[in-house]
Symmetry: C2
Subunit: 159 residues, 2 copies
DNA sequence: CTTGATATGTTACAGGATAACGTTTATCAA
DNA sequence: TTGATAAACGTTATCCTGTAACATATCAAG
């Protein structure tokens, strides 16, 4: 299992929708959704799992879209900056965003057995950092929440 | 400002206490608190900030305690595994734990202006991952919570 | 004393990321 | 149309992070 959500779903449809959302967002904000950027997002959506920059670069290279690391990193930066993809710090890898457009603090559930990654919502409003933190006066601008464990499938398989 | 907590505190005392706690824990669990491991923990406590493995290695090398990367990484692994230090994924760096002994899910507050790192508690019980996540059936074994923003001091300085 | 487990030392390299510089392409005002 | 400017791309070279693999040393238990 390598799915981005643990439940089954219409893969083609979510790819189409995510691409459409990115396209529209770029048009609306005068952002340049170039072939490389588009292709990298497609790869993330097709792979439907956390992918390393160099893995993506390999494909770009095969397709003649770029041969050096900066090409991949720049495209990934663009996607992350604009909310079309996220970086999983824990894995030094990237995933397509499952909720483009929505303003959200993603929380990732990483299965240590099958490497599947699911994107959920962390709820900053509910105070996932606890009351104590708010009292320190720290101004949170961005948060990374990543949980490692077992996905439903793998948890069951080990019973 | 490079402190590990944003508030002032007795630096020497917290170093002494953390070392004592590590020593006791190792004795209790028959763990080998070797010179290298001890020294790395000291360095983290003295530095009192997030430090890269290679930065630590530089000091070990100067002191004749080890010259190659695996030496530092192995010591750091030991410290992290046993809860004496944490890895900040976001920075690819390590910090001494501020609450050794207590069973906790650390949440780090990283100031993007001065690089100070504070360790707070995330509250898994309160559900920092939200109800929706629990419903997926994912079994969380370990969680990384890292917030980037401005510490009280830097936030004020920019007003 | 020997066996086994644990820790260390070293080489060599894999994998992740970016600085710096030059070239192309798109945009837009004069 | 042209010239100026910014944005994106291409490439080189290098840095930082991390680990596999293997040799050596240390130490406690049988």
């Amino acid at each position: 299992m390598q799915a981005l959500g643990f439940e089954h779903h219409d893969h083609h449809r979510c790819k189409r929708e995510a691409l459409a959302a990115a396209e529209e967002h770029c048009a609306r904000h005068r952002l340049n959704f170039t072939p490389v950027r588009r292709r990298v997002l497609e790869l993330l959506l097709e792979g439907h799992r956390a992918m390393g920059a160099y893995e993506i670069l390999d494909t770009l290279r095969e397709e003649g879209l770029g041969a050096q690391p900066p090409v991949a990193y720049r495209a990934l930066d663009f996607l992350v900056t604009n909310g079309f993809a996220h970086k999983i710090e824990r894995l030094n890898a990237f995933v397509a965003c499952m909720h483009p457009g929505e303003d959200h603090t993603p929380a990732f559930l990483i299965c240590r057995a099958c490497d599947a990654v699911a994107e959920a919502h962390a709820d900053p409003a509910r105070g996932f950092l606890g009351q104590a933190v708010r009292e320190t006066g720290f101004v949170v601008e961005q948060a990374v929440v990543e949980a490692v464990g077992l996905c439903p499938g793998c948890a069951e398989a080990r019973t």
